[in-house]
Symmetry: C2
Subunit: 147 residues, 2 copies
């Protein structure tokens, strides 16, 4: 994956949701945080019910509102593809049990903390190797945030 990879979770920063639902964080203003998670050596990647329950836990941990959850299991491989549609964007998961690999992405705007969705996913799938890359979507070219 291109872009910076962090192996540890970030401490909670002073994230502020603005009136237009854009976020102000570390001097930047943007629409939302989009985390791409790579899980290797992960477990239970063919268990559709478990994956659905885990998506719910992850959304709740981030204080997101679930609008809908859709999952599909591929009988040929046991892989599961799924998405939780949120009032604050989405969480998606795609699994390759034959590779013990899952690709997860967490995109959240507004007053949610995307990083809080990570521990439930990590605990549930218990990956041997785990990577996160952070993308700030909708970055505004702000001339001066401070007066």
């Amino acid at each position: 994956m291109k872009g910076p990879v962090v192996e540890t979770k970030r401490a909670k920063a002073a994230q502020v949701a603005l009136d237009d639902k854009f976020i102000e964080l570390e001097g930047e203003r943007f629409a939302g945080l989009h985390l791409l998670l790579e899980l290797w050596g992960a477990q239970r990647l063919d268990d559709e019910d478990f994956i659905e329950a885990t998506l719910k836990q992850a959304a709740q941990a981030a204080r997101a509102t679930i609008l809908d959850i859709r999952l599909h299991k591929f009988l040929s491989s046991g892989g599961v593809t799924g998405v939780a549609l949120l009032a604050e964007s989405h969480i998606s998961i795609h699994t390759w049990p034959e590779r013990a690999y899952a690709a997860v992405d967490i995109f959240m705007c507004g007053d949610c903390d995307a990083y809080q969705a990570v521990p439930p996913l990590e605990q549930a799938f218990a990956p041997v190797r785990f990577e996160i890359s952070e993308n700030r979507r909708g970055r505004l070219k702000v001339q001066a945030l401070t007066p």
Copy 2:
């Protein structure tokens, strides 16, 4: 957005879908291409039916199989959040009409070409500024791809 930003679309490279649905491209083996699109100065971002039709066109252009499409419109802002769940992963869109901004992501594995989903989105929403960043999800640490 962190990571490389390309302003132009890539010419079709020799992308090969392997038996396990991983892709081999430019000497790398990985699960799928995940494109993050930033659309600024975009149009029709509050038109739910139009967005749904555009997601279908984008999926079809990439030769993807749609399993389900779910959209939700926020009456307060006119913003739309939606996802097309694909047999080959997903396309998602989240719009902020008040900012003329949309965040789209296209994640495709297997024998699909994620880049072919881009022109229908670009034509539909006619953004003034348009950025793509490419993420290769599930990159294998291959010691030698050639015999």
